[in-house]
């Protein structure tokens, strides 16, 4: 079985997932009301930064490709063009 703590995921995807989750949380918090004006302004600013970061991540991301070696953990990075 795969141990969850050994799981190492793409940083691009992880940062996106994290930023998106926080953005969603902020919108939910603002929409549920009960925030002070000062707090709302701070949340709004943070949300704007996160939305921009998400869009930029999507726009600038480039697909990374690796080839798995025959040995289980000897994974080496390969140029995708090799296979064309």
């Amino acid at each position: 079985m795969i141990s969850p703590k050994a799981k190492k995921t793409s940083t691009q995807e992880k940062s996106y997932e994290k930023a998106y989750a926080e953005l969603q949380e902020i919108v939910t918090k603002l929409e549920s009301g009960g925030t002070s004006l000062e707090e709302a302004l701070a949340l709004y600013e943070r949300g704007r930064v996160l939305a921009k970061a998400c869009t930029e991540l999507l726009d600038k991301a480039e697909l990374r490709i690796r080839k798995l070696g025959s040995a289980p953990d000897a994974e080496k990075t390969d140029d995708p063009k090799e296979y064309d």
Binding site: I2, K7, T9, S10, E17, L58, L63, L68, P72, D73
Partner: protein
């Protein structure tokens, strides 16, 4: 001719050999009127109009020819179609090729390969390998996608293209393996295990289209079991839309093609961007609502403050003072104007009895010029007395002229402007 080989039994020319073989085949009555069942593959139909194809089962193949006349009566079979062919067996001498000369072709109920496929499918199904409750959800946002396929196939390129367009945030891992041929099943199993160890979020098992024989590795029992045993959620995309291989049933999700498998494994970048922009919009409207709400609260507080404050009461008092003074003013003015009217009446009466009014009606006043006495009697104006006569619009000089007797006099004079 038949005697020729008998003369030299151990030596034949190629031509002689092929002829002998042909005649030997043609001399067997069973081979001259026979039905053969198998699956069609590699069909060609050149301009001549003849059909050439191969009939196969899981372990053998035979070349087949169908001449133009017979072919015109038959419908062109599909690659992989299970058929029953009737004809005779002979040998094409020029190529030394043994073949079946087909005169009738009909689809068979189920081809041998298909029967094997069904048998294996039933067996694995009975084991519960294809059970719906075994199916796991595919992660929404895969950070890592492992692809089990041939590194030189079109399928691998298709998968790369789709993911570069839809979800470039992910990392793509290739577990390379041959996808057809004798050793393909074993290599596919090894690649699947290697992909499973790579801790990917999803595994794609893909291969481009081909004949049913080309896809056969994906019906291999060991491959199907390897797919079912994966710890990582899996998607298959083998062949074309109409091809169903057994790995499709064992995987968590089946896609009709390799590209479709890549699409099912990934969210669409454009939709994600729209989603983020919608969240941004909600953020803005949230803030607007909060500001409006706070402002309304402030305004209603302000209104309550005004009505409760001493300033407000003072204003009320001021207003009532203003009101009273206005009423007092009006009452005084009314009385004054009444008095005024009365006064006007008195003045008019007084004016009616005054000398001016009398003169207006045509009377005149006469004074002596010398002493200014009003001439009230004839005796006051003896003949020749200079007089002043006043009428309503002015005065003119005159002189009295006494005539007969006393008591009458006349004034004569010139009017003066």
């Amino acid at each position: 001719m038949r005697q020729l080989p008998l003369l030299r039994p151990n030596f034949l020319t190629v031509t002689e050999l092929n002829r002998l073989a042909r005649l030997t085949l043609e001399s067997d009555p069973v081979l001259q009127d026979i039905w053969v069942g198998g699956e069609v593959s590699g069909i060609t139909r050149p301009a001549s109009g003849h059909f050439y194809f191969t009939l196969k089962d899981s372990s053998a193949a035979v070349r087949c020819v169908m001449w133009r006349d017979a072919a015109a009566r038959a419908s062109l079979p599909r690659d992989g179609e299970a058929v029953e062919a009737h004809g005779h067996v002979s040998l094409y001498e020029t190529g030394g090729q043994y073949q079946l000369y087909v005169d009738t072709l009909r689809p068979s109920g189920q081809g041998e390969l298909f029967a094997e496929y069904l048998r294996l499918k039933a067996k694995l199904e009975a084991e519960g390998l294809f059970a719906p409750e075994r199916k796991r959800p595919i992660p929404r946002w895969p950070g890592r996608i492992a692809v089990v396929t041939s590194p030189i196939g079109a399928a691998w390129r298709d998968v790369q293209n789709v993911l570069a367009r839809r979800f470039p945030l992910s990392e793509l891992l290739l577990a390379p393996t041959p996808v057809q041929g004798e050793d393909a099943p074993e290599k596919i199993c090894a690649a699947l295990r290697s992909a499973d160890r790579a801790r990917a979020d999803v595994i794609l098992l893909v291969r481009g289209g081909g004949s049913i024989e080309d896809l056969w590795a994906f019906n291999d029992e060991q491959v199907v079991r390897a797919v079912a045993a994966l710890h990582t959620p899996s998607i298959t995309g083998v062949g074309h839309e109409t091809d169903f291989t057994l790995v499709d049933f064992a995987a968590d999700l089946r896609a009709p093609t390799p590209s479709a498998a890549a699409e099912l494994a990934s969210p669409n970048k454009e939709e994600l961007k729209e989603d983020v922009s919608r969240l941004g919009q909600r953020l803005v409207s949230c803030l607007e609502e909060i500001v409006i709400e706070k402002r309304n609260l402030l305004q209603s507080l302000e209104a309550r403050f005004r009505s409760a404050s001493p300033l407000g009461r003072l204003q009320n008092i001021r207003q009532s003072v203003d009101d009273y003074s206005r009423r007092a003013d009006a009452s005084i003015r009314g009385r004054l104007s009444l008095n005024h009217t009365r006064l006007d009446g008195i003045i008019r009466i007084l004016q009616g009895v005054g000398p001016a009014q009398v003169l207006d009606r045509g009377y005149a006043l006469v004074w002596r010029e010398a002493d200014g006495r009003l001439v009230r009697s004839v005796a006051l104006a003896p003949s020749g007395t200079p007089l002043q006569v006043q009428v309503t619009d002015g005065t003119f000089p005159a002189r009295s002229e006494q005539r007969t007797g006393s008591g009458t006099s006349a004034a004569s004079g010139k009017e003066k402007g």
